[in-house]
Amino acid sequence: MNEQTVDTFGNEMMTLNMGPQHPSTHGVIRFVVTSDGEIMQKAVPHVGYLHRGIEKIAEGIPWQSFTPYTDRVDYLAAMFANHGWAMAVERLAGIEVPPRAEYIRVIASELNRIASHLVAVGAMAMDIGAFTPFLHGIREREKINDLMEELCGQRLTYNFVRVGGVSSDLTPGWDKKALAFIEALGPLLDEFNRLITGNEILVKRCADVAVIDPRTAKSFGLVGPNLRASGVDWDLRRDQPYSVYDKFEFRVCTGKGWRGRVGDSYDRFVVRVDEMIESVKILKQALGGIPEGPVMAKLSKKLKPPKGEVYAAVESARGELGYYVVSDGGEQPYRAKIRTGSFAALSAIEALSCGLMIADLVVLIASFDVVAPEIDR
């Protein structure tokens, strides 16, 4: 533990623990940083501080009972984790979901995406030193939390999308409240952009920092906004339509290299802001066309999907959130594997960190929107 690292030129290197207790690692992640003071040679992520064995838990409990555990996969966007699991089991068991339930799922998911992105961009601004945009984001997220609370009784861990539908119907007047919220969100995002997105210091801090070209992005398995920021036009909602996403018009936002090269940290920031605007569009369409009907398919209490395996993925706020589930025909899953965006993003950090400054590492982590429980599960 006491060796002194020396680089090729004989400069002494400093080995530094960044995390697990660090303000900007977004949860308990540890990076072992080797640097010569400011410029890093590498930053090696050490994961596992939040490992709870969620995949193993799945093997011991009935199919439907696993839904609350999926909430804990990603606490900022629990709806997607619910949704992915429900989709996997539905495909495995061949369950037909009522259309009203699908609409409600989409609405809840998109609201959750906005909430998650607000935290992501806000936290990134905060890591760069601007505290106010973060709290403006949190203020809006609070309203989404209120909506969610009315919808499913929970503000963070929703347990809302169940196998076969959703846990409860919309409360009377909920859709009007949601509509009013998203109508007001547009000007709020404008204000947010005026406050921080166009800020020259933020641009200087993020543009051309940790550029990921499309090839590298694909080879690291980046997904979601991180992949799209690199200019790869890939969105599960459009390219592998699930639920009722094929009924809605929306644009897939990709990185354009707004203020630097394509795939830099600033693109990752702007793509998230852009996606919120697209989510608003989807929400408007979805809220306008909710069909009548039941919200839950008729299921037996003891679900026994036939023997087989399935991979179901949703486009979460952090990209493709996939469940690979194997059934042996029993009352419990034989194996469930969760594929998350944050884990892939974290794996890219070591390769990208060479030559960055410590301050850039903070930007890089924040721009990937890494959420610790999603990494460790």
């Binding site: 400093m14 530094l16 660090h22 303000p23 900007s24 003071g37 400011e38 601004a125 905060m126 890591d127 760069i128 030193g129 601007a130 505290f131 106010t132 709290l135 403006h136 203020r139 007001a184 969100l185 547009g186 000007p187 709020l188 995002l189 404008d190 204000e191 005026r194 406050l195 921080i196 800020n199 210091i201 933020l202 200087k204 801090r205 400054m357 410590i358 301050a359 850039d360 903070v362």
Partner: protein
């Protein structure tokens, strides 16, 4: 101090009869006044800044201790008072323990030269500006000491960052002040104020294009020297945990921040004195103001007001702007502010000849610059109004909650 003494002698017979008692008493009284003012200012600003931040961030901020939470700083101080004063193992005990003192003393001593009125100034040094730069250099020493002695890598990083930053930014500070010194022809802050006038177009900032830009150069560089956002890298929370004061606890920790908040006033007051006319009242001559107690008092109020407005601006900046990266910070200093400072000095010198040759032209330029300055301020308020009107959430413009 001697001006005040002379002023009192003119009005109060015992001061003439027993100068050997009244003079030291006056000095001690002024010292007590300055320390109290500085402490009160630092404490109340720590509360005020959090309240402003709360308003800007759609939350309330501390409002529990005392009316509107104004005694929050006492509660915080009391809490720190009861904390364990930790010294990390393997830390350099002596350096670690004395590090807060240079920071504290360095900031507090600048209060001596801040002029409030023609007669009210701690020490009207004929090298005032140089003294200001010299004594604030103590702060750097304290911060490096604290960062190095802590024996913690984060603190070390913060300490070394601050060494590079604060020391580099002394150069633009020097050049910007020099630009103001050239037309005034004196280094004494009182003298610089006397060279200005009460009306805005007679202020140093609008004196010439050079001083106009020097105002911004000084303000920026002073923020960097005072470790304020967007230049708060030595204590960058999200990068360095807490920077140079990571290991400090209890009162020692408080002193670092106390000095930082006191320094806010120093920045505001120096800018107000050097660039914004100090205690000069519009339409009142210096002799007239020096002779009247009430005019002196009014001047002091105006000076404090100007300083507080600038403190407010600094607080707004802190809660609006992100933070620069360390290399960008150094680039800004060495590739922009330092060359700008050199050019400014030459232009300021050149302007002295312009003033001599074409006084009318110089006068018109001053009016024009004054109009530009007020236009910029108006623009800022227009932007604020626009953001309030078209911003998403309706702001509740009731000041206190």
């Amino acid at each position: 101090m001697s001006e005040l003494f002379t002023f009192i002698q003119g009005r109060w017979d015992p001061a003439v009869t027993y100068p050997q008692i009244v003079w030291p008493a006056l000095v001690v009284a002024y010292g007590v006044f300055a320390v109290t003012f500085a402490s009160l200012f630092a404490g109340i600003t720590s509360w005020y800044e959090r309240r402003v931040a709360g308003r800007m961030q759609c939350r309330i901020g501390p409002n529990r201790v005392g009316p509107q939470g104004v005694l929050q700083w006492l509660a915080d101080g009391f809490k720190a008072f009861l904390k364990e004063d930790l010294v990390p193992k393997e830390a350099d005990g002596i350096l670690y323990r004395i590090a807060p003192y240079p920071v504290f003393v360095g900031v507090f001593c600048t209060w001596v030269i801040l002029p409030y009125a023609p007669a009210v100034v701690g020490a009207d040094l004929n090298v005032g500006v140089v003294f200001l730069m010299a004594i604030t250099a103590l702060v750097v020493a304290g911060i490096i000491m604290g960062g190095w002695a802590s024996n913690s890598k984060w603190a070390l990083l913060g300490g070394v960052r601050s060494a590079a930053q604060m020391v580099s930014y002394e150069i633009p500070v020097g050049f910007a002040l020099l630009t103001a010194v050239i037309p005034a022809g004196t280094l004494s802050l009182q003298g610089i104020i006397a060279a200005q006038g009460g009306a805005p177009w007679n202020w140093m900032v609008f004196h010439s294009p050079a001083t106009f830009i020097a105002f911004f150069v000084y303000f920026t560089a002073a923020l960097a020297e005072g470790n304020r956002t967007p230049f708060d890298l030595p204590e960058a929370e999200s990068e360095l945990v807490a920077g140079y004061n990571t290991e400090y606890s209890g009162m020692r920790f408080i002193w670092f921040f106390f000095a930082e908040w006191a320094n806010l006033y120093v920045i505001g007051a120096v800018v107000a004195a050097v660039f914004l006319g100090g205690w000069r009242l519009p339409g009142v001559g210096i002799e007239q103001q020096a002779a009247s107690l009430w005019l002196q008092f009014a001047g002091a109020c105006l000076f404090v007001l100007k300083a507080l407005v600038l403190v407010n601006v600094i607080i707004w900046l802190r809660w609006t702007l992100p933070r620069l990266r360390v290399d960008q910070l150094m680039i800004m200093c060495w590739k922009y502010l330092v060359p700008a400072g050199m050019v400014l000095v030459v232009v300021a010198v050149f302007w002295v000849f312009v003033e001599r040759g074409m006084p009318g032209f110089a006068r018109w330029v001053a009016f024009l610059l004054c109009a530009t300055g007020f236009f910029l301020v108006g623009l800022m308020f227009w932007r604020a109004w626009y953001n309030i009107k078209y911003g998403g959430d309706r702001l509740y413009l009731k000041f206190m909650v």
